[in-house]
């Protein structure tokens, strides 16, 4: 997708979705918010991991760091400041950690990024109980649902716009270069270390900011709920089902996946996980390239018809 097209699409999506709090039902709004959260998480994840083939499982760690920034700042920092600050904290953390572990590849990288989530979770638990004599934080007067929704919408669109801009830039080419052949990219003069760390931190910014934005809805912020590994797994799953190497794939997948899970959950309260699991198996078997490969196949056929 061309950058201009992508940005125009973002602007239109923003215009269409922004009035939702005043038009749709509470539940539809809540579901849209969930979709947007996963759009932001999956797109930013794919921006780094899809391009570089570095499978990161640290999304939950970034998300949780962001959430704790809002929790700590609650009462002193306005929401509008806490959200970007949450993103920034996650990005700084990612940059520091990335510098240390981004020489690992494949399964090693995946495992260590997963371990990071646990590390941060236990570190925060320890720090909280030692210095604050508590573990959870109560958000006593959370921002209005409309505010949270609009902030999450802005973050999701910003993630998409950023991912589109990165894809069109030299930086994006360098990331893709790392993905296809890191040695060659380095030989050709790409500072792979810097590029990887930058990409990792940029992706972390969005996960952190989304954590900071969404967690206020839960009233009570505790390590177990904000460092929920499920959030990380779901993000990776969505991006892969959509096609992590594309921009539109993870977006479509986040919407389809969130809505489908929700419909199945509400329609088949007891059997939905079985249905969902079966669908996933079918997808992996018959569409290994993700939803995006459907479109690619169709385009290929058009061209060669």
């Amino acid at each position: 997708m061309r950058l201009a097209t992508a940005l125009a699409a973002c602007a239109i999506a923003g215009l269409v979705l922004a009035p939702a709090p005043w038009l749709v039902s509470d539940f539809a709004l809540s579901l849209t918010l969930s979709c947007l959260m996963y759009v932001g998480l999956a797109v930013s994840w794919a921006m780094f991991s899809g391009a570089t083939n570095y499978l990161s499982l640290a999304t939950a760690a970034f998300f949780g760091i962001g959430a704790y920034v809002t929790a700590w700042g609650h009462g002193t920092l306005p929401y509008a400041v806490a959200v970007p600050l949450g993103g920034l904290a996650a990005a700084l953390f990612a940059a520091a950690i990335g510098a240390a572990v981004l020489h690992l590849r494949g399964a090693y990288f995946a495992v260590i990024t997963f371990g990071l989530g646990e590390l941060v979770r236990h570190a925060i638990t320890y720090g909280e109980k030692t210095w604050a004599r508590t573990v959870g934080r109560v958000i006593s007067d959370p921002p209005a649902t409309e505010t949270v929704y609009l902030v999450v919408l802005a973050l999701a669109l910003a993630a998409v716009a950023t991912a589109a801009a990165v894809r069109a830039s030299r930086f994006g080419l360098a990331l893709a270069g790392v993905g296809s052949d890191e040695e060659r990219a380095r030989t050709l003069g790409v500072n792979t270390r810097l590029v990887k760390t930058g990409g990792f931190a940029l992706a972390a910014f969005f996960a952190g900011a989304l954590g900071a934005a969404v967690a206020v809805r839960w009233t009570y912020i505790e390590p177990a709920s904000v460092f929920n590994p499920f959030i990380g797994f779901q993000t990776v799953l969505i991006a892969m089902v959509g096609g992590a190497h594309t921009l539109a794939g993870p977006i479509a997948s986040a919407v389809v996946f969130s809505v489908l899970t929700e419909l199945l959950r509400l329609q088949f309260p007891y059997a939905y996980l079985i249905v969902l699991g079966a669908l996933l198996i079918l997808l992996v078997l018959y569409l290994p390239g993700g939803l995006a490969s459907l479109l690619e196949r169709w385009k290929w056929r058009q061209r060669h018809a």
Binding site: S25, D26, F27, A28, L29, S30, L31, L33, S34, M37, H122, T125, Y126, K129, R133, T134, V135, G136, V138, S140, P142, V214, R217, W218, T219, Y220, E222, P223, A224, S225, N228, F230, E262, R265, L266, P269, Y270, Y272, L273
Partner: protein, 393 residues
């Protein structure tokens, strides 16, 4: 057609129309909730809470329906899986109260999930009586629609301190899980022990999901306290019992918090649980009502309820039922009725003050044979306490 005849038909039609709503089935009372059926919260939720909801709806419907201010209406439960996720809890209750506008709601399982629903019940004005939410912080939110029917940590720990004081216990070692529950229980325990003059000679904490407590237990064993108290969650309760037995650490009083009241604790650990104490409220011997509750639960679900929060879940439904009988489904009136009334339940009389159940006393229970006997307070006791605790078997 004569006017008289026309009038006759008209009145007949009017009569039929008037009879219609009475003859046709009245719309059921829709009661919504989200609860964990999958994920880490599911074990607790499916033991303590949802089975009670299902059994209650069955019993009410079998008796002709819920008494809504004198009129019987069937109840229909609208229950969804919350996947043990705070965001899903919030979304589901927004759907139930904001979009579907169900008549009543029931709470989700656990303190975290109850926190997540707090702002919503206030926004939409639905009273909620929570059987599995504990913590001063929760009550500190002063939400007029929230009612905690489980005994709060300080109350439970005071009962434990009184029990130990009556047995002349002087020293105790305490471990607790690093979580709101563990911290609040510990705060309560510390204050109660100080007042009763019981010295805490060792205090250790451990993270959620701990896999080995033996080093800690060995240290504590060397200090030889009179009482050992683990303010633990179910997995650690099982762990600490098994490991204390392994190293033959057998203090005069051995107490573990959540999970001791579960039938599976007895079934899995067998005779090892003899003399172990923990958080409880009642057992089938407590009263005829308790016996009836246990029998009905076994008949319906083919498993026993736990001996602590299950009964509170049932009592919460009884409170709701009695309040609805009195004031109907107007939720503001219902809230006021719950806040000001006194209710007869399986756990005894229940009355709320500032959202807290102030009538149910703190209880200490102890495994003796196959029963989790209530051993404190004396007027609720179903058996004398085994003290000191017999050797591990």
């Amino acid at each position: 057609m004569s006017i008289a005849r026309f009038g006759g038909i008209l009145s007949a039609v009017a009569l039929a129309a008037a009879c219609l709503p009475a003859a046709a089935q009245e719309a059921p009372v829709r009661i919504g909730y989200a609860i964990a059926r999958t994920g880490p919260w599911a074990a607790g939720a499916q033991l303590t809470q949802e089975p009670n909801y299902i059994m209650w709806a069955d019993q009410v419907n079998a008796a002709g329906g819920l008494n809504v201010k004198g009129r019987k209406r069937k109840v229909e439960l609208v229950g969804f899986d919350d996947r043990s996720e705070a965001e899903t809890v919030v979304r589901t209750y927004e759907k139930l109260m904001g979009s579907d506008k169900v008549d009543l709601i029931l709470p989700p399982w656990g303190t975290g999930a109850n926190f997540a629903v707090m702002p919503l019940i206030q926004k939409y004005g639905y009273p909620m009586i929570a059987p599995t939410a504990t913590g001063r912080r929760l009550l500190g939110m002063k939400n007029p629609y929230f009612f905690a029917i489980l005994q709060q940590p300080d109350r439970m720990m005071e009962a434990l301190a009184e029990f130990l004081k009556a047995r002349r216990v002087e020293t105790a070692a305490v471990i607790h899980v690093d979580e709101l529950f563990g911290l609040e229980q510990y705060t309560g325990l510390e204050a109660a022990f100080k007042e009763k003059g019981i010295r805490i000679i060792e205090k250790k904490t451990y993270p959620l999901g701990v896999k080995d407590l033996k080093p800690v237990l060995n240290d504590i064993k060397a200090k030889n306290p009179d009482a050992f108290i683990a303010l633990s969650y179910p997995p650690d309760t099982f762990l600490v019992t098994a490991q204390a037995r392994e190293i033959a650490f057998n203090p005069k009083a051995f107490y573990a918090a959540v999970g001791t009241a579960f039938p599976i604790y007895r079934d899995k650990l067998g005779p090892a649980v003899e003399g172990v104490m923990g958080l409880g409220t009642l057992n089938p011997k407590s009263s005829p009502a308790a016996k009836a509750y246990f029998d009905a639960h076994v008949a319906k679900h083919n498993k026993e309820p736990d001996r602590w929060a299950s009964a509170h879940a049932w009592a919460a439904l009884q409170v709701l039922e009695q309040a609805v009988a009195k004031v109907g489904l107007d939720r503001k009136a219902l809230r006021d009725a719950i806040a000001t009334g006194e209710f007869d339940t399986v756990i005894g009389k229940v009355r709320f003050k500032d959202g807290e159940n102030v009538t149910t006393p703190g209880v200490v229970s102890q495994w003796q044979g196959r029963e989790f006997e209530v051993v404190w307070p004396p007027d609720k006791a179903t058996a004398p306490a085994l003290f000191p605790k017999p050797a591990w078997r």
